[in-house]
Symmetry: C2
């Protein structure tokens, strides 16, 4: 717009600006020009850091995906009864969503128009698939009700968890812990006190 | 594109074409030109039916909102114990979502850039508010667990229900009834068999 400021960005800080712009305008609707204006540096300075906007997208969604997949490797996700691992993964997924809110928001809005987007969708499906397998194991143990289809239950669970990116804003009294508790209480134990 | 076909549309059938285009391209990204091409009739034929695309949007989201608000007037939503009314409204909301899938999809994607969109968002909030009041009443009866904040529970419930528009496609074995059962089982009774 006016004179560009000196480029003091690191790949990390540039990424955080890019993610914000992607989330506001949509990835498709964002040009290098928009990124340059938002960052306050020239396009050539951006090209000094990255090959283009698709690289920024790849880095951003990788950050979200790495956070989510890391959960599946944690001790609480691999040891113990399947239903407890479902609870653990649900809780930690909520924490990753909240901790990496702009990155996960971007991941969940990816449409599939570019190679990077299709790769991200593929990885998301893989994550969902692994969680569905956990739910299946818990159902096989008799720890999950038999009258709900597991694929459906997995989708509803992710529907609930993923909706957080649309409405959750950090707030005293509703931190990641309270949020994770509420999701687990609702999905696993239900809201109803009397059966 | 080529010669336009004879206009055999009714306001109703034109609306269903428009909703499909709005959902594919986004409301902002849809021009009268796009609508004219999709319907295969001239723009002036469209103007014969409606004043413009905002009128089509208003009619489309009204159809979704009317369906949702009608639920709140049904006997099952106004009589009986609050927790049973919560269950009833949840179930019927799922049915309306499935029955009016493209219309509710459009409603849930509305952003707030035009007067009609802001009105639609306002009506959605009003609906959410009325359901939250029902949940509050059920909690006051002691029928909902006290350790989950009701605002949070309402948002999670809608997060789960509204996610249907993103992934649900009619399918033998997963009709509206099975879907509604799954949502109610999960949200109210939880997936876990053992406490």
């Amino acid at each position: 717009m006016t004179t560009a400021k000196r480029d003091t960005y690191t790949p990390e800080t540039l990424l955080s600006v890019a993610v914000q712009v992607f989330n506001e305008r949509g990835y498709d609707g964002t040009s290098m020009e928009h990124l340059s204006k938002a960052a306050g540096i020239s396009k050539s300075s951006i090209y000094h850091h990255v090959a283009g906007k698709e690289e920024l997208l790849r880095r951003a969604v990788s950050r979200a995906l790495d956070g989510l997949f890391a959960v599946l490797e944690e001790p609480g996700a691999v040891r113990g009864r399947a239903v407890e691992r479902v609870e653990y993964v649900t809780r930690r997924t909520v924490e990753v969503l909240v901790g990496e809110l702009p990155y996960v928001t971007l991941l969940l809005r990816v449409r599939g128009n570019t190679r990077t987007e299709r790769w991200a969708l593929e990885r998301r499906r893989e994550f969902d698939h692994q969680v569905a397998d956990l739910l299946k194991a818990a159902a096989a143990d008799g720890d999950l009700r038999a009258d709900v289809d597991i694929r459906l239950a997995t989708r509803l669970l992710f529907g609930m968890v993923n909706s957080l990116v649309e409405w959750y804003r950090p707030h005293p009294g509703t931190g990641p812990d309270q949020l994770a508790d509420a999701v687990v209480h609702m999905a696993l134990d239900g809201l109803r006190t009397v059966r």
